[in-house]
């Protein structure tokens, strides 16, 4: 009997799949940041409001009443019913609360479930570049292959159907879009969404539409992808409570799709997550029932700050298109000739202002910064004054 003993490399317990995924560019920057004190951060991806009191109060009350147990895998029926009402009210969509809605642990879980439920090995998923940091790794972890479609400033970072079509192959399974966009703040014009819907029908593709920022749009109406003609059956709609209701830490979201897809996703969800935390579900019910006033209050606040930040950015020479959604601006740093990582690092060390380098969101995010305006007016003014000084110094 012969044993061959191989000396294991340090990382040998880690699967190849995980090894092949690069750590988030944001994470790397985070480590650098913790070494600097007194930083004004425009690098945060969450509201600066805390969850409205009526929602927190409802959660506290549910705990007092002893709601501390598991719920159905799908989530509390009452929450799904409220969601069905919400989708009907806002988008004229009719989803069955018992078969077509699944409550997830944040929209992030929803995305993971959707990808794992539909992808066979090497299936391709089309995504915009730049896009949210989790899209590429989540596709890879689900065994798929991300196909990035460049989007650009000249086109307000909209993904266009004419750029997608030539990249569709026999392996293409789905188109994954997330608008309003993190990191660019871009929204999709209705006509462009219609064209993408036509493509999806022509090639029989699923569209995974991440609409976590749906309620944060300014001066336009949000179009829910599933509400486009014929798209309800071919759309996996991802939503959540984090952004609109300032509930990031609650980790509560939802997936809406046809019964077959929801059943497939619930299979994974029931074995991996079981159910979303009941307290967060209780809070979400209250949010849907009575949250509109607070949403509007916060949205208005963001809108004012958005305009201010865009103006200040353009004034200091960092040209920035007008983002009509989410709470990000995505200015170009071309005039400095620096890479986005270099710019962000220097800005942090010299002026103590944190922004996220655009390259963290894909190859085509290079040359840009993500600046979040979910922070106080005073912070925006101070940070932009510092950035102005910085740009003046390094302008080519």
């Amino acid at each position: 009997m012969s044993h061959s003993i191989q000396v294991k490399a340090l990382n040998s317990f880690i699967s190849q799949k995980v090894n092949n995924i690069s750590p988030s560019g944001i994470r790397k920057f985070f480590d650098l940041l913790s070494s600097v004190e007194g930083v004004i951060s425009l690098g945060i991806g969450e509201p600066d409001f805390i969850t409205p009191w009526h929602i927190r109060e409802a959660a506290i009350y549910s705990m007092e009443k002893g709601y501390t147990m598991y719920t159905s895998n799908y989530g509390l029926l009452q929450l799904r019913q409220e969601l069905a009402k919400y989708l009907k009210l806002h988008y004229e969509l009719n989803y069955h609360p018992e078969h077509e809605i699944l409550i997830t642990v944040g929209t992030s879980e929803g995305l993971d479930l959707a990808l794992r439920a539909i992808l066979n090995p090497d299936d391709e998923v089309i995504i915009p570049d730049p896009c949210y940091v989790a899209y590429v790794p989540d596709i890879i972890l689900a065994g798929g292959v991300p196909i990035s479609i460049p989007t650009c400033k000249e086109n307000d970072f909209v993904i266009s159907a004419s750029d997608i079509e030539p990249r569709i192959t026999k392996q293409t399974r789905a188109i994954l879009i997330g608008y309003p966009s993190n990191p660019t703040g871009a929204v999709m014009p209705h006509e462009e969404l219609l064209k993408i819907a036509k493509l999806a029908q022509k090639y029989n593709l699923l569209v995974i539409s991440d609409e976590i920022y749906a309620r944060l749009v300014y001066g336009i109406e949000h179009t829910c992808f599933a509400s486009l003609p014929g798209m309800k059956e071919q759309t996996i709609l991802l939503g959540g409570f984090s952004k609109a209701y300032a509930m990031t830490g609650w980790r509560i979201g939802y997936v809406v799709a046809n019964q077959e897809l929801i059943e497939a996703m619930t299979k994974i969800h029931q074995y991996t997550m079981l159910c979303a935390p009941i307290t967060a579900q209780m809070a979400a019910i209250e949010a849907l029932k009575n949250g509109e006033r607070e949403i509007e209050r916060m949205r208005k606040e963001y809108d004012g700050r958005r305009r201010l930040m865009v103006k200040r950015l353009n004034d200091i020479g960092l040209s920035c298109f007008e983002p009509k959604g989410a709470f990000y601006t995505f200015p170009s740093i071309e005039i400095t000739g620096m890479s986005s990582e270099e710019f962000a690092e220097k800005l942090l060390l010299e002026e103590k202002v944190a922004v996220v380098p655009g390259s963290a969101f894909g190859q085509y995010g290079e040359g840009f910064l993500r600046c979040c305006y979910a922070t106080s007016l005073a912070n925006i003014e101070e940070a932009l004054a510092k950035m102005g000084r910085f740009v003046k110094k390094y302008k080519k």
Binding site: F30, S34, E46, G304, L377, E381
Partner: protein, 159 residues
Amino acid sequence: MEQIFEILEQNARATPEQIATMVGMPVSEVEKIIKQAEEDKTIIKYKTTIDWAKLGKGEVWALIEVKVTPQRDVGFDIIAERIYQFPQVYSAYLVSGAYDLAVLVRAKNMQEISSFVTEKLAPLEQVQSTVTHFLLKRYKENGEILQLPKEVGRLPITP
């Protein structure tokens, strides 16, 4: 236009330029609206909310319920005016319910409030009765929560 006032109500020091950018109007237009509002007293005055307790200022505040007899033709207005003219009166409201006027009084000490009530307010002919509630602690004022708990920090960078 309402937005201009909402911004100013939150932060009286917001500049016309900031406001103009935030609401998407020309600066001159915003300046005009503000000036007009100042003139017609839509904007009554610019104030600062101060937590006096922090400065160790021992002020005394009291909420006084006043029951009055309304007068023919003028109702409560004349008696209200007689009361709110006193400099100790910080706010005065006509209210529905068990009493008529709610009067918020601010004074240097309890003695001053006491003499205001016994010498000025209670003896008024139309005043039937008063109930004085001294303020023990301020939690929220003008929509602002005082003595906020330490802020829970967000992580400086999140996806």
